[in-house]
């Protein structure tokens, strides 16, 4: 009997180690879908880069409904996928419940903090990136008036706004920043009509560069800015291509880097907090052929200098969420 036990134990241990050696990473896309031109697509880009460079393969699933969230997590965990990476704060609650059931599986969640020993929480320093694009907006503006259009009025979006204003003021202390929030309910993320009208209202007040941190509402902002002949700044992923030559730059959260790093680390993935900022390439501004003519060499030099300072800690951009206040208006 005792022998049998030992034998079973050894077999189980072997199975475990074999499983660990062969474990494939898995990636779960949120409801927006794999090709959403934003968050999820960036994650997919990072995973593809990892697969091409290492020759490895990864498992993936695109969620089709809210109910699949937990199901997908458990399926991957039971199939031995490791680490399991998921995009989007909406996984927060589900992961809090699922993670303790699979202590040997490592999870990585992007844009949300889940406090569990086997979860890596990746969050972004959006205020640093907003600071950089704020500098560029102020330098590109001829009227010394720039605009900010947020989605729902929540601390996270005020963090974007506050970083942006600090960036603008660092270039031109007298510049005016017009700030509008689209609304106070989740409907504010998907109201491009109101985004358009807010853009027109800001143009009427003299703004000639607008920064949209507003999800689907931002589609209306960028569209109207392009129609009315002013510049706009995209958010989250590189949105320069949406209106080539009309989008000054985009504040990029390098979700692709976060996914790439997690997959590269594989089983050695460190748990706990992971802050992606300017310093480790997690936050950046977008440059490509669509905005090359809009960004002058001085602008680029100034922003790159600021990037170095932020990275070295010489320049600290105030984070609104630390004390819920912003030093500048």
């Amino acid at each position: 009997m005792s022998l049998m036990h030992k034998f079973m134990g050894a077999a189980a241990a072997m199975a475990l180690t074999a499983g660990a050696a062969m474990a494939e990473p898995a990636l779960i896309f949120d409801l927006g879908g794999k090709f959403d031109k934003s968050f999820n697509e960036a994650a997919f880009g990072g995973a593809t880069r990892w697969a091409e460079e290492t020759g490895g393969s990864f498992r993936e699933i695109e969620l089709q409904s809210e109910a699949q969230r937990e199901q997908a997590l458990r399926r991957f965990a039971e199939a031995g996928a490791n680490p399991i990476i998921m995009t989007g704060f909406a996984f927060g609650n589900v992961l809090t419940e699922v993670a303790p059931d699979y202590p040997d599986t490592k999870f990585a969640i992007i844009d949300m903090v889940v406090d569990a020993p086997n979860v890596r929480s990746v969050v972004f320093n959006e205020h640093e990136g907003s600071y950089l694009v704020g500098m560029m907006a102020a330098m590109a503006s001829e009227t010394d008036t720039v605009g900010f259009i947020g989605g729902m009025d929540i601390p996270l979006i005020r963090k974007f706004a506050c970083g942006y204003v600090q960036g603008v003021k660092s270039v031109d202390a007298d510049a005016t920043v017009i700030q509008n929030m689209t609304g106070t309910t989740p409907a504010a993320w998907n109201d491009p009509v109101k985004g358009s009208e807010l853009t027109k209202a800001q143009i009427a007040q003299g703004a000639d560069v607008v920064y949209a941190a507003a999800g689907g509402t931002g589609v209306g902002v960028l569209q109207t800015a392009a129609d009315e002949g002013i510049l706009s700044v995209g958010v989250d992923s590189n949105q320069n291509h949406l209106h080539s030559g009309k989008v000054l730059t985009s504040m990029m959260k390098r979700v692709d880097n976060a996914v790439y790093d997690a997959m590269t680390a594989g089983m050695d993935l460190e748990m706990g907090f992971n802050i992606m900022g300017v310093a480790n390439g997690g936050i950046d501004y977008a440059m490509d052929e669509h905005n090359a003519d809009l960004v002058s060499d001085e602008m680029k030099a100034a922003v790159d200098a600021a990037k170095l300072k932020i990275a070295s800690g010489e320049l600290e951009v105030h984070d609104y969420m630390t004390d819920n206040t912003c030093p500048v208006e």
Partner: protein, 324 residues
């Protein structure tokens, strides 16, 4: 004076754009409810129309085809509402809620399947969207003080559908109050038994009203996606169908008053976009949220009977049963 014009003009301009979808939806609700069929599915129909107009305008490159597709989608949902609440005598409110859910889910699902862009359509360009219509002499008159900017910016330069919405108001009034059809339509919402006794089909009249409702909601959706915007984004109707319902009650189910109510609600929405202008005009800091909430507050005030009384069509919300 000039200052006032420069401040107010963009706000009034924005009022026109924001009031148009409300006006279409409000008139749509007016036809339906005047015939005794409550319709809280205005929002869903608008959303479905917004998606299909954008999707077909994108694939065909022709905004007119898009508009027709939007109207068709909206009418299809109207027929479902009609089938459930007129033919099968179901609860009109529940059918309306179901249509809202159906539209919210279906549009994103189909958009994802067709375009794979996270539930939105690609952005429309050129002939796939409604451009502004410049009135004759708008550019020439633009420099005339006061009158010039009012003519060239406020009156001219909107998309085709804005003018259609404005024309729909007298048309609705004429149909309701000056035609035999209108008289019967109003009667069927007040006392369907009398209409039935006179030998006119209650079911037929109600279906016709629901179809007109679908047509107008279709125009509202097409305006959102192809006039105001260049494409569909999920849930882009953002509660406008419900504000239109509030406007309908505020207007006490009358066409000209509906125009007034929609313009007022549109104006309040436009004001909330410009906290700076509000401050200049009133010298008081009014919270944006209050301006956003005002349409609903005003509607509640009206419903509570403080300012007149809002009494809907008497047979509204009830299916007609011939034999008891």
């Amino acid at each position: 004076m000039m200052d006032l014009v420069t401040i107010l003009l963009p706000i009034l301009d924005s009022t026109m754009r924001l009031a148009t979808p409300l006006l279409f939806a409000c008139l749509a609700g007016l036809f339906s409810e005047r015939a005794g069929v409550f319709d809280i599915g205005l929002e869903g129909k608008m959303l479905a129309a917004a998606f299909f107009s954008a999707a077909i305008a994108y694939t065909s490159g022709n905004v007119w085809l898009g508009m027709l597709a939007g109207i068709a989608a909206s009418i299809a949902l109207s027929l479902i509402h009609g089938l459930a609440s007129i033919t099968f005598r179901g609860n009109q409110l529940i059918s309306g809620v179901a249509i809202n859910f159906l539209a919210a889910g279906m549009t994103v699902l189909v958009a994802q399947d067709w375009f794979k862009q996270g539930g939105r359509t690609p952005s429309l360009q050129g002939d796939a969207r409604f451009g502004p219509i410049e009135f004759p002499g708008a550019a020439a008159l633009a420099d005339v003080p006061v009158v010039g900017p009012i003519y060239s910016e406020l009156i001219s330069g909107h998309s085709f559908l804005v003018y259609i919405a404005l024309l729909a108001v007298p048309a609705t009034w004429w149909i309701l109050y000056r035609t035999r059809y209108g008289l019967r339509l109003r009667a069927v919402g007040e006392n369907p038994a009398a209409v039935d006794t006179a030998g006119v089909s209650v079911i037929g009249l109600r279906y016709s009203a629901v179809l007109i409702c679908g047509l107008l909601c279709g125009l509202a959706g097409a305006y959102l996606a192809t006039g105001l915007q260049a494409g569909f984004v999920k849930d882009m109707s953002a509660g406008r169908g419900f504000i239109a319902l509030a406007a309908l009650i505020f207007a006490k189910w009358r066409p000209w008053h509906a125009l007034g109510a929609c313009l007022l609600f549109g104006f309040l929405q436009a004001l909330s976009l410009r906290p700076d202008a509000v401050k200049i005009l009133t010298r008081v800091d009014i919270p944006v949220q209050l301006l956003d909430a005002l349409p609903y507050i005003l509607t509640v005030v009206i419903l509570a009977g403080f300012v007149g009384k809002a009494i809907g069509p008497r047979a509204g919300g009830e299916a007609y049963v011939k034999e008891r």
